[in-house]
């Protein structure tokens, strides 16, 4: 390889955005979709609607960041929706029924979300139950906890300071979008610039080689699932604030949306490779698609069909392209 190539190589690859063919494909799809929608609906490109897309995507995207870590490591987390519900009702009840201040309530909620994730990690790394089953168990249990805790009543009506997190704007940018940008930045940074991030990739590539290389597998798994719980908790705070209500039945099937975003973004379900940037694109495609279909008043039942086809199409094209190389 020539020197020039070397330098180019170094330059292009050191940026985490790593614009490989796959990502370019996704960006093109996203743009094509957007152009189509802006032709079909005059409202699509309005600033306010872009804010809508951002707000609506943020909840899925923040969860999907944690899910990206999980999937890169070769695992899966089905429990995010239920964990989200637990955090939602706990934060709501602390503020509303126990009179705690906003900050402490959120803090406790985030700690609880991370703790539930930690338990996932413990079950997976210590008892060695496969992630699918471990988090399936947690999915059921956490949902039960959310209902038992609230006796199925939503807990609503918070101070405007709290609802600002989900509904407010700073310099015209909706707060959920700002939080999402921070979460994405953290997600990218930790995955690409820290030791643990490096170990997550190693673990997902080959658990046995990772062990030979001296990586602490247990610690890494604990981190991954705790992080996923943490991100889910952040998302839960935003949902709770947006709805102005802590809801025990929120989050059902959120895991599927998150997984879809991650996989659309080019992260392989068999682990070892993937990127947060891809997940951002994946979540945006899903978000734009949902928004667009609402704008166009597509029947909700038909929306299901379109959504399924888009997932198959995107992943299918990707698979075919990969096989050709």
């Amino acid at each position: 390889m020539s020197n020039l190539q070397n330098t180019l190589n170094v330059r292009s690859k050191s940026i985490p955005l790593n614009l490989d063919k796959e990502k370019i494909g996704l960006i093109v799809s996203l743009m094509a979709l957007s152009i189509l929608l802006s032709i079909l609906s005059p409202h699509f490109l309005e600033t306010y609607n872009l804010g809508n897309i951002g707000r609506q995507t943020s909840i899925n995207l923040i969860i999907a960041i944690g899910m990206t870590y999980v999937i890169i490591s070769g695992g899966i987390d089905l429990s995010v929706g239920s964990m989200l519900a637990v955090v939602s009702v706990v934060v709501a009840s602390l503020m509303k029924n126990h009179g705690l201040d906003i900050f402490t309530s959120i803090l406790v909620g985030v700690v609880i979300g991370s703790f539930l994730g930690l338990i996932n990690g413990l079950i997976i790394s210590n008892i060695k139950i496969p992630p699918f089953i471990a988090t399936l168990g947690m999915m059921t249990i956490a949902r039960g906890i959310a209902f038992v805790y609230t006796d199925a009543y939503p807990i609503s009506g918070f101070s405007s300071k709290f609802t600002f997190l989900g509904q407010g704007s700073i310099f015209g940018i909706p707060v959920p979008i700002i939080i999402t940008i921070i979460a994405v930045a953290i997600g990218i940074f930790v995955l690409n610039n820290t030791i643990i991030g490096n170990h997550i990739f190693g673990l997902g590539n080959n658990e046995e080689s990772a062990r030979l290389a001296g990586i602490n597998i247990k610690k890494t798994q604990l981190f991954i699932y705790t992080f996923c719980g943490f991100m889910t908790a952040i998302s839960a705070v935003i949902v709770t604030s947006r709805l102005d209500s802590g809801q025990p039945n929120i989050g059902v099937s959120y895991e599927l949306d998150a997984i879809a975003a991650v996989v659309l973004g080019g992260t392989s379900l068999s682990g070892g490779k993937g990127s947060i940037f891809g997940t951002v694109l994946g979540a945006l495609i899903i978000g734009v698609l949902n928004n667009g279909m609402n704008l166009l008043s597509v029947s909700p039942y038909f929306q299901l069909i379109v959504k399924g086809l888009v997932i198959l199409l995107a992943v299918g094209l990707n698979t075919i392209r990969e096989r050709k190389n």
Partner: protein
């Protein structure tokens, strides 16, 4: 190391082996496949635990319970099998697991990682950006990355287990220069290779293994290659003589100009009934890929395959079997076995059709066939329902052979038929090959063991870097000729 022993289920890999290594020395390990070289090395590097014996390191008796411990004690290893992370870049691979655990917040020092990696890559003369993903590298490049990784530990002992098996001559020479440098800085090196010329060039001492036992340790200068070979092979390869088949009844298989990009080019050869055709070549010469392509396991770019003088098109192994071609794959575990299934199912899975009516298997007949095969192949197993993963390698190999024979092949391709198999089993497998040949089956044997090739073949084709460099018959078949073709020298025949 004193009186080291190690037993695996069914195999005595090492028996009472003594071994020592001095600083600044290159100590070569020699021996046939399965002699126990890698096992010894893996005990030293903490991957396996010894059963018996004593391990003294820097004057102290020591025991490594993990590779990590060995590495921290200053022993670094290039394993025979590559262990890189395919989807990660070179720099991250080299520093995986020791990115600098003490740094605050655990932030990666990327600058250091890539700068240092670049340095190590330079040392192995690999001029590639450390940001390149490993999956985009060729096998040789991967091997060089493994070597770069091994030297990056600043170890006192470095072990190379067949580091040049997939390197070109130039790349190998670079490695030798590097080894010379390491030696000068007082590092002790254990070097395993099947290539005599290398050993003669770089080693100070040689230890020869045979069947898990140490034969001798000698100074390289005081011994000739012929003597070493004698020690390695040792026993007379007293195999049953193959009966010469009078009239080989004409041609069975012919391939013309087979090519596959980046793997092999213009491969043409033929195979007669009852003939055993050996395929020799260095590891990575492309023999396996040729055979897989003929078998339909990989796609061909171009070329023709003829069976019984008729052109055939084979798109997958299923069709190959239907046409009478059967392959015994080289990677037993990865490509041959069904580890969770019993001996019986492993043997009969390809030929269930023969005992079925309307796709329903007559389980009794099927069991009978499995039982008969087990008897015929002399597989040592408590029952035919025994999970195959519990059998020794040789017995596993016999089961796969049994499976292939049940398919009544016309052409049987063995890829490394005796890899990791003990001596007794080996000669049984040779015996079987001869029997099959006598029945008129055409056999191709791909092997990296020269003695094996020489012992069984009627004719030998030699490959080098994806091309056929020569073909040897009858009395032309000798070590010197084969090795010459193997390294790419073309002679007049």
């Amino acid at each position: 190391m004193k009186a080291i022993s190690k037993t695996f289920p069914g195999v005595k890999a090492l028996q009472d082996v003594d071994f020592d290594l001095l600083p600044g020395e290159v100590h070569a390990l020699l021996g046939e496949n399965g002699a126990g070289k890698s096992t010894l090395v893996k005990i030293i590097s903490g991957v396996y635990q010894k059963d018996h014996g004593e391990f003294v390191y820097k004057g102290k008796s020591i025991h490594f319970s993990s590779p990590l411990e060995a590495r921290e004690a200053g022993i670094s290893t290039v394993y025979q099998e590559l262990s890189l992370m395919e989807h990660m870049d070179i720099g991250r691979n080299i520093f995986l697991g020791r990115e600098g655990q003490n740094r605050i917040l655990g932030i990666l020092d990327k600058k250091r990682i890539y700068k240092d990696s670049m340095q190590y890559l330079k040392k192995v003369k690999l001029n590639i950006s450390p940001y390149t993903l490993v999956k985009n590298l060729s096998i040789a490049e991967k091997q060089l990355v493994e070597i770069a990784k091994a030297i990056s530990f600043n170890a006192e002992v470095i072990i190379f287990d067949e580091p040049t098996s997939s390197l070109s001559e130039e790349e190998a020479n670079n490695l030798f220069i590097l080894i010379e440098e390491l030696k000068k800085s007082g590092i002790g090196i254990i070097y395993i290779s099947h290539k005599m010329s290398e050993i003669a060039k770089i080693s100070d001492r040689i230890t020869v293994f045979r069947d898990g036992k140490k034969i001798a340790t000698k100074y390289t200068k005081e011994i000739t290659i012929d003597e070493v070979l004698k020690m390695m092979v040792g026993r007379e390869i007293s195999l049953m003589e193959k009966k010469i088949i009078e009239n080989t009844n004409g041609e069975l298989l012919r391939v013309k100009n087979l090519s596959k990009k980046d793997s092999f080019q213009d491969i043409s050869f033929y195979l007669n009934k009852g003939e055993i055709l050996g395929f020799a070549g260095l590891v990575g010469a492309g023999r396996t890929e040729v055979m897989r392509a003929i078998y339909g396991a990989d796609k061909l770019d171009s070329g023709e395959i003829m069976i019984d003088n008729k052109l055939v098109h084979i798109k997958n192994p299923h069709q190959a079997i239907a046409k009478g071609i059967v392959l015994v794959p080289e990677d037993r575990k990865g490509q041959g076995l069904f580890l969770n299934l019993g001996v019986d199912k492993n043997i009969t899975i390809s030929s269930l059709k023969d005992v079925s009516r309307f796709k329903v298997v007559n389980n009794k007949k099927n069991q009978d066939i499995a039982k008969k095969t087990v008897e015929k192949m002399n597989v040592k197993t408590p029952t035919i329902h025994q999970q195959i993963s519990l059998l020794s390698g040789g017995n596993q190999q016999k089961c796969i052979l049994g499976r292939c024979i049940l398919l009544n092949p016309k052409v049987l391709i063995f890829d490394e038929p005796t890899r990791g198999i003990d001596v007794g089993a080996k000669s049984e497998i040779y015996k079987l090959m001869f029997e099959l040949a006598e029945q008129g089956i055409g056999i191709i044997v791909v092997s990296s063991e020269l003695p094996e090739i020489m012992a069984v073949s009627d004719r030998v084709v030699v490959m080098h870097e994806g091309k056929i460099t020569g073909e040897l018959k009858e009395d032309q078949i000798n070590q010197e000729n084969i090795i010459n073709y193997m390294v790419g020298v073309t002679h007049y025949v």
